[in-house]
């Protein structure tokens, strides 16, 4: 009673204060004005907030009856036959069923174990190929790649054999206005999504089921639907690339990074240094890229440096990351691109070296839409501060190129992961009924970069002394288990929890250059006098080339009438060539190890069906365990060696025979299916909410038990 009385008194005081402030503002009298502008600022700012809130309330009140009727109608439609109140999907990109099972058998991962023992745990069949944008596109659309048109990160341009991003195209505005040296763009850049098909949350939204979708891959550009969505993998950086880091150094070097980064010189100016971050191309057509200059003031005594950029100044110790820093790239005429990045001070003596993350699109002021509605990314930025928006935000290239060390990379990964956890738990709170789906990709990035510590024979760890191998991957799984534990504490018996991954993982110890094999076996020809090609088929003689490969798992025929310089006739000749290639490549042995480099060659006509099959690779290459397409082969380069060791930190992969790398399916309810597939998720969710399934779906809905006894929650 006393507490109640105290709270009532406090409430009364608060209301009285608000009332007085309101009156002061509405009728500023002589005496009140003595408070001066100081109080005015404070009162006006907060009053404005309350005013807007009440304006919203008024709007909500006026439109309430109509919305209530609509909601009633929709929800009756949506929830009338629903078996669940809410579905929560936690996606762990690349979580491996073999590893998770091993850790559970060792008595670790108590929350996953609870799910396995009281609900469901199964390997989840993945897509052909087992690549994230492909698998997550299938997850969201419920169809095979022949119907959603995503076969790899990259697709090839049939006119010039060059690659382009398979998920989205960003084009400059078509019309420009020339004023002197400037060319002003008239209108916005055109962003076209290339993934076809309809995500299942669109069907749910139309039926009145609210959906919060966070960072599911292949959701850029964000599509309109009645719900909220933050795009994930495939969101570009401010330069339009999939992530270009910047390494600013005083060390003289002509070496260029293979990909993913640029080296920028740091110049001395007395006791301080200056450098710059390259930004996007100048939109005013004056040529060159925009840049943001910054200064470094090293303090060797304290082993730190002060960095100044725009109006922001911050101090970093060596080996420390900054917070997200706003960066403006000014083009003139009032055009400014807004980005955010983090600085990492690598060294200050004897040389000065600063690593800068790729410049992410600023979620608080997005220059490109990265969420639906656009205000959702702003809402998250206001609530939690700036966060990584880049699709592949964990800078694997910087670790691969040894710009970052293991610890710096992990710090970056878990920093991003922490932000995403906050977003996810906020979405969970904001979605008491409906669908809440979030994909965490830390699992994928950390396994890619640290699998070398699980594989004692991996060539990338031969020089690492025994006993110094960190338990990085086990720690990763422990963290994900902890996350699931917290999710389980927030859901009730009427909520279905699904934990899924799109694929598993295997070691990537040996690289295979399939273009080299095609060259050495007479399927691919180089121009006269050449024994190797440059990137993207430079020096390839297309008039004598019958097959080529680019990207991670696709092998293409140089088909007449399809490719610009195609020579293989469609039909019988093409069929025979495919048969020939399959026969020779399936079971191909690595002479150095005796292991099978390719365990399966899959004909696109056998694994795909749908209107976009013509865009698919003609054959999908299923590499054997321990193998993957070489770094050169992915970039359309023909080398002299077919097999070689993978010495990169990127030591684990999943772009192998999809049968070797299924994902995982955990649930808090029993699911009666022996061999679930990722393509089944969409139809299952629609069925759980009592919706009719579209006839074009390839997946089959699972039989999910009604509310099961809640597993015991483990802290």
């Amino acid at each position: 009673m006393r507490l109640l009385s105290f709270r009532q008194k406090r409430l009364g005081q608060l209301l009285a204060a608000v009332l007085i402030i309101g009156l002061v503002l509405l009728f500023p009298l002589r005496s009140e004005a003595y408070a001066g502008p100081g109080a005015g600022f404070a009162v006006l700012s907060s009053f404005w907030t309350i005013f807007v809130a009440f304006l919203y309330s008024f709007y909500a009140l006026v439109t309430w009856p109509i919305r209530q009727l609509l909601r009633l109608f929709r929800r009756r439609k949506a929830y009338g036959k629903a078996q669940v109140k809410r579905v929560v999907i936690v996606g762990f990109d690349g979580m491996d069923p073999v590893l998770v099972n091993r850790f559970m058998d060792e008595g670790k991962l108590p929350n996953f174990t609870q799910l396995r023992d009281h609900g469901t745990f199964r390997p989840l069949r993945t897509t052909f190929p087992a690549i994230s944008p492909v698998a997550w596109s299938t997850f969201q659309t419920g169809v095979n790649p022949g119907k959603h048109n995503i076969y790899d990160f990259l697709a090839r341009d049939l006119k010039n054999y060059l690659p382009y991003l398979s998920s989205a195209q960003i084009r400059e505005p078509k019309r420009h206005l020339r004023i002197g040296k400037y060319s002003l763009p008239l209108g916005k850049a055109e962003i076209k999504g290339l993934r076809k098909g309809t995500p299942f949350w669109h069907w749910l939204g139309k039926a009145g089921v609210f959906c919060s979708v966070i960072r599911v891959p292949a959701t850029f550009p964000p599509e309109k639907f009645p719900g909220v969505l933050l795009s994930g993998m495939c969101v570009p950086d401010l330069k339009g690339s999939q992530g270009t880091f910047c390494f600013c150094t005083t060390r003289a070097s002509c070496d260029k990074f293979r990909e993913g980064g640029v080296r920028i010189p740091v110049e001395r100016n007395g006791a301080r240094f200056h450098s710059h971050i390259p930004g996007p191309e100048n939109p005013l057509g004056t040529g060159g890229v925009l840049r943001a200059d910054f200064k470094i003031h090293p303090d060797t005594r304290c082993n730190q440096a002060r960095i100044e950029i725009d109006s922001e100044t911050f101090t970093l110790k060596v080996g420390e990351y900054s917070e997200w820093i706003s960066v403006k790239f000014k083009a003139g005429m009032g055009f400014t691109a807004h980005g955010i990045c983090r600085f990492y001070l690598k060294e200050i003596s004897p040389e000065v070296e600063v690593y800068v993350t790729p410049v992410n699109i600023d979620p608080g002021r997005p220059d490109l839409p990265i969420s639906h509605p656009v205000t959702y990314s702003i809402y998250l930025a206001k609530l939690f501060g700036p966060y990584a928006t880049l699709g592949l935000a964990e800078d694997t290239w910087a670790l691969n190129e040894e710009v970052l060390d293991d610890q710096a990379f992990l710090t970056q990964c878990y920093g991003n992961h922490k932000d995403r956890e906050r977003m996810f738990f906020d979405a969970l709170e904001k979605t008491p009924q409906g669908l809440c789906a979030c994909v965490f990709d830390t699992t994928d990035r950390v396994q890619h970069m640290f699998w070398r510590y699980l594989d004692k024979d991996h060539p990338a760890v031969r020089d690492v002394p025994q006993g110094q191998k960190p338990r990085v991957i086990q720690d990763l799984y422990d963290r994900m288990d902890n996350l699931i534990g917290r999710v389980m504490q927030q859901i009730d018996e009427q909520t279905l929890l699904l934990v899924i991954s799109d694929h598993g993982f295997k070691s990537f110890a040996r690289c295979m250059n399939l273009n080299a094999w095609l060259h050495q076996n007479g399927y691919l020809a180089l121009k006269a006098g050449k024994s190797e090609s440059g990137d993207w088929f430079e020096d390839v003689d297309w008039s004598r080339t019958r097959a080529y490969t680019m990207g991670l798992n696709g092998l293409y025929l140089n088909l007449k009438g399809r490719e610009r310089e195609g020579i293989v006739e469609a039909g019988a000749e093409a069929g025979a060539l495919k048969q020939d290639l399959r026969a020779k490549l399936d079971g191909l042995v690595d002479p150095a190890s005796g292991a099978i480099g390719i365990t399966g060659m899959f004909d696109c006509d056998a694994v795909y069906a749908g209107p976009y099959v013509d865009n698919a690779p003609d054959l999908i290459v299923g590499y054997g365990e321990g193998f993957r397409a070489s770094w050169d082969s992915v970039m359309g380069k023909v080398t002299s060696k077919i097999f070689e060791d993978n010495l990169k930190a990127w030591s684990g992969d999943h772009c192998v025979d999809p049968r070797l790398v299924p994902g995982v399916l955990f649930s808090n309810r029993k699911i009666a299916i022996e061999k679930p597939a990722i393509v089944d998720v969409a139809p299952t969710i629609l069925k759980l909410f009592g919706l009719e399934l579209p006839s074009y779906f390839d997946g089959k809905p699972w039989v999910v038990a009604s509310a099961a006894p809640q597993p015991q929650k483990v802290a």
Partner: protein
């Protein structure tokens, strides 16, 4: 009340006395608006204020984004109220720091801008409040030749007041004297066409009232007269087709100036 600290202000203000009251108010408001945001910048936790404002905006967006989820919207409203209280708390310290000099400044300016001096031939009242009714019966007004009485003194026993109606003959600064119970006290009367420092009342004791309204030394504690007031006409400033009290105009203009300067200087308010 005359204080040593007000002397520099009097000297400084004498330089702008010929200026129009409107220009003076606008100039002072803009300068104070600028000073206030600078003071706010250095006396507040800018990061915390930025965070508090961002969170408020987030909760507002939540109301819009999740408008069909009633519990979510209600929680957002509660957070908006909590966030507003937090923001006000963060703004309170700079407000406290700024309020003293601002109050002092306004008091000094009010001497010049609060009332208009009397004009020649203008009728005005002199009101003397006495200690007790007996003293009221013995009160006597002594005037300089430039000021003449236009009506007999009126005694208001209930209020212990004696009121005289006077007329000024010509411009100047005069002293009127009131004698009662063997003591004589004086009061300034200003007759002028321009901007001038005015003290509308002279008081005995009452420190805070003297601080805010009087510009003359206090009457002696044993004086039979409690106060002497002159009914100067209050000043009205015409601006933007409206009649303004100068303090209200100052409040509005300094606020607008502050909001403009904070955007230009990148200061969180």
């Amino acid at each position: 009340m005359v204080t040593p600290s007000s002397m520099p202000f009097r000297l400084l203000s004498s330089a702008v006395l010929p200026a129009s009251p409107l220009l003076l108010v606008l100039a002072v408001s803009i300068v104070i608006g600028l000073l206030m945001v600078v003071v706010f910048r250095y006396t507040s936790d800018q990061k915390a204020i930025g965070r508090a404002k961002d969170r408020l905006k987030a909760h507002l967006l939540a109301v819009r984004l999740f408008q069909d989820q009633l519990p979510v919207v209600l929680r957002a409203y509660a957070r908006i109220l909590r966030g507003t209280a937090r923001y006000l708390r963060l703004a309170f310290r700079p407000f406290l720091i700024a309020i003293l000099p601002i109050t002092f400044l306004i008091i000094q300016l009010d001497r010049y801008l609060g009332w208009m001096p009397l004009r020649p031939a203008q009728t005005f009242l002199v009101e003397a409040r006495v200690e007790d009714q007996a003293a009221g019966n013995e009160v006597e007004l002594q005037l300089p030749p430039e000021l003449v009485s236009s009506a007999p003194a009126v005694h208001i026993p209930g209020d212990k007041e004696v009121v005289w109606r006077l007329v000024a003959q010509r411009e100047g600064q005069y002293d009127i004297h009131i004698a009662a119970v063997g003591q004589t006290v004086s009061k300034q009367v200003l007759v002028s066409p321009g901007l001038a420092r005015i003290s509308p009342v002279r008081l005995r004791g009452n420190f805070w009232e003297r601080m805010f309204t009087s510009g003359e030394p206090a009457l002696a504690d044993n004086s039979p007269i409690q106060s002497i007031a002159i009914t100067y006409p209050p000043r009205v400033i015409n601006f933007a087709w409206m009649e303004w009290n100068w303090i209200v105009l100052f409040f509005v203009v300094s606020l607008i100036a502050g909001f403009i300067f904070k955007s230009v200087l990148g200061i969180q308010i």
